[in-house]
């Protein structure tokens, strides 16, 4: 996984709450068996609307998404993270993330930073006033900067460390394989097996 330290890019204001993963990438796009190529599925249904924010030429090359509360609710599909990344997003800033989406973001290397809804509203105003405005997301300092707004965002310490180091979880767990072996010996005999 690529290391994430800091990113500066155009930010898009997604003035919506409860952006569920069915909107981020509709189920129809989940039939693929590959890990890439989900960019066309990203907000596929909303992008059909000419007024949708990403159809504004000023926001077309956005790499930071600034969304309302409860972003990423619903289905556990990691394809939602892949679709956002394949579209070009490096970070999503929201006032509240759904748990599974936040976990999936950390695994895939998409930064999910949480700030208050007040900060979101202020950033939305700036972005809407001047489409194409750049935002800097600094993972080391845990700050998001948009013109004169500088806000700290919340992110789990361990996820931050993994993102900054670009580490893969399975490799980390494999270091403890003997501990897993030992644990398995203590499992009760009545636990079911499928075969």
């Amino acid at each position: 996984m690529e290391k994430f330290l800091t990113h500066t890019g155009i930010a898009a204001p997604l003035r919506r709450s409860n952006v569920d993963t069915d909107q981020i990438v509709p189920a129809e796009y989940l039939k693929r068996v590959t890990r890439s190529g989900f960019g066309d599925g990203c907000f596929a249904s909303w992008r059909k609307d000419p007024d949708f924010v990403l159809n504004n030429p000023g926001f077309a090359d956005s790499s930071v998404l600034v969304a309302g509360p409860d972003f990423g609710t619903g289905s556990s599909r990691e394809h939602a993270v892949w679709a956002l990344q394949d579209y070009g997003f490096k970070a999503v800033i929201s006032s509240r993330f759904a748990d599974i989406f936040r976990g999936n973001s950390g695994k895939g290397g998409l930064l999910a930073g949480e700030v208050s809804q007040d900060v979101i509203e202020k950033i939305w105003e700036k972005l809407e006033a001047n489409p194409g405005t750049q935002v800097t997301v600094d993972l080391d300092k845990r700050t998001v900067t948009c013109e004169d707004i500088v806000a700290e965002f919340l992110i789990d310490d361990y996820v931050r460390w993994r993102l900054m180091e670009g580490l893969d979880d399975i490799g980390l767990t494999m270091k403890h394989v003997t501990t897993i072996d030992e644990f398995e010996k203590t499992r009760p005999a009545f636990k079911p097996k499928v075969q």
Binding site: V81, D99, I180, K193
Partner: protein, 468 residues
């Protein structure tokens, strides 16, 4: 200080714990389906890794499979490819799979419990958010992403931070016409789609004790719709009775040891929850959603809300947007909302009790001529059981379509799509924009309300049939 049920199950599965790091949690059962697994198997192949515990891993085909003409090749080439890939992965990695045509095939969260693989005190994961269903047995069960699917396949563990705990206590008895589905929809409307975020919910109280295992599964299933990672219900005699004798249930001395352990899986009286919500069961009524997230629900006797009812700007925008998408006008009584399609099925309400409930309302009645109704059993076994009881005949006599098992119109990945602009009463779990097909409008309902709605052609409860 005592422990909550969730803490007891968590603690029993910690393989490794270190300051500043997530706990490494052992996984007792890993359920797999065709949609969220191909990239995980690819990852294993690319790094030369094997599946650590094929004996704790089970695959079923559910999301993508057709529910008609199941003996023919799958018509959609992209779906057919995903099914081909999952079968090849099962073969290559030596995993048990329930394929289309197998009597055991069905929705992953229906299959686990009916085989007796879901038992109290287990940790269960699946690349599917509705894994929370299995919490009905006192298991800690939650959905994971594809990277985590690969992690569990390779290590049978997951690195996780402990969840917070929330007690949802439902006091009193549910009125006779109120189901588990109505109760969970009312809870989600109360705490909101983000209310459970970061929590494991434990449903407790007299009304929960009175639910059957299938009702409890409906409750735990939709915990994710309240934003929670998992829902749990402490196991009791109802749980043990349900498990006993099933294919993978313990037997003999193992059964006694298991029940002895399972009986310890209750929240201690001196345990502290991080949050508590109390609900009075006696005040509840049949509940339906009107909007485009599962928290936008109301009693069936209510009317469509107005943006001016919103408590803040964010909610006002959400209501406006939902009304526009749903094609609804504020102030319209919910019972006057006409419906074009009715779907009975899904991991929320596709079990035998759900089909019995819908059939008991439909018996001797006809589906309205303006309504198309599909009944999709949750698994091959549910289908067979329903046919043994003659339920299929009740459905087809009423004019409903009787189909084969799968996720079907719940997420419309297969051909079962609600047409654009059409309005559906659905026993599934999500009313998101386009969830049941592009442009489709969804009202989440119980099986009883679904059946009454099919007969009358507008949102209705069985009580409205008597009055009609």
């Amino acid at each position: 200080m005592g422990k909550t049920l969730a803490e007891k199950v968590w603690d029993a599965h910690v393989v490794r714990s270190a300051e500043g790091e997530p706990d490494l949690l052992y996984i007792d059962l890993h359920l797999v389906h065709e949609v969220t697994s191909p990239q995980a198997f690819d990852g294993l192949r690319n790094s030369g890794r094997k599946v650590r515990r094929p004996d704790l891993t089970l695959i079923t085909e559910d999301h993508n499979v057709p529910t008609l003409d199941v003996a023919k090749p799958i018509a959609d080439p992209v779906s057919a490819e995903q099914i081909r890939v999952v079968r090849e992965n099962a073969k290559e990695f030596g995993l048990r799979i329930f394929s289309l045509g197998d009597a055991e095939q069905g929705i992953v969260h229906v299959v686990g419990p009916q085989l007796g693989l879901t038992q109290p005190g287990m940790t269960i994961v699946c690349g599917d958010s509705h894994t929370s269903t299995h919490g009905a047995f006192g298991a800690l069960a939650f959905g994971i992403g594809t990277s985590e699917v690969e992690h569990v396949l390779a290590t049978q563990t997951l690195p996780l931070k402990p969840f917070k705990t929330m007690a949802i206590t439902v006091n009193g008895k549910l009125p006779a016409d109120v189901t588990a589905k109505d109760l969970i929809l009312a809870i989600i409307a109360k705490i909101g789609t983000g209310g459970g975020q970061g929590y494991v919910l434990e449903y407790r109280g007299e009304a929960i004790r009175g639910l059957s295992m299938e009702g409890r599964m409906t409750m735990c299933n939709m915990s994710i719709e309240a934003g929670a990672r998992a829902g749990m219900i402490a196991p009791d005699e109802t749980t043990f009775e349900y498990i006993k004798g099933r294919d993978h249930a313990p037997t003999g001395a193992d059964w006694d040891a298991a029940v002895e352990y399972w009986s310890t899986l209750t929240t201690d009286s001196d345990a502290k929850f991080d949050a508590e919500v109390i609900i009075d069961a006696t005040t509840l009524a049949p509940f339906v959603t009107w909007g485009t997230n599962p928290g936008q629900g109301l009693p069936l006797s209510a009317s469509i809300p107005s943006p001016s009812d919103a408590k803040d700007e964010v909610e006002k925008v959400a209501i406006e947007r939902a009304l526009e998408y749903m094609g609804l006008t504020p102030g319209t009584p919910l019972k006057e909302v006409k419906v074009d399609n009715v779907f009975v099925g899904s991991c929320t309400n596709g079990r035998i009790e759900d089909l019995r409930a819908a059939a008991s309302v439909l018996k001797g009645n006809k589906v309205a001529s303006t309504v198309e109704m599909w009944v999709v059993p949750g698994s091959g076994r549910v289908r067979i059981q329903a046919e043994l009881e003659g339920l299929d005949k009740i459905f087809t006599d009423a004019g409903a379509q009787w189909r084969f098992a799968g996720c079907s119109a719940c997420l419309a990945m297969n051909p079962d799509k609600i047409p654009s602009g059409k309005r559906a009463a659905s026993t599934s779990n999500r009313n998101f924009e386009g969830r049941q097909g592009p442009g489709a409008r969804t009202h989440l309902v119980s099986p009883e309300v679904a059946a009454a709605t099919a007969i009358l052609g507008h949102l209705a409860s069985p009580a409205d049939l008597v009055n009609a």
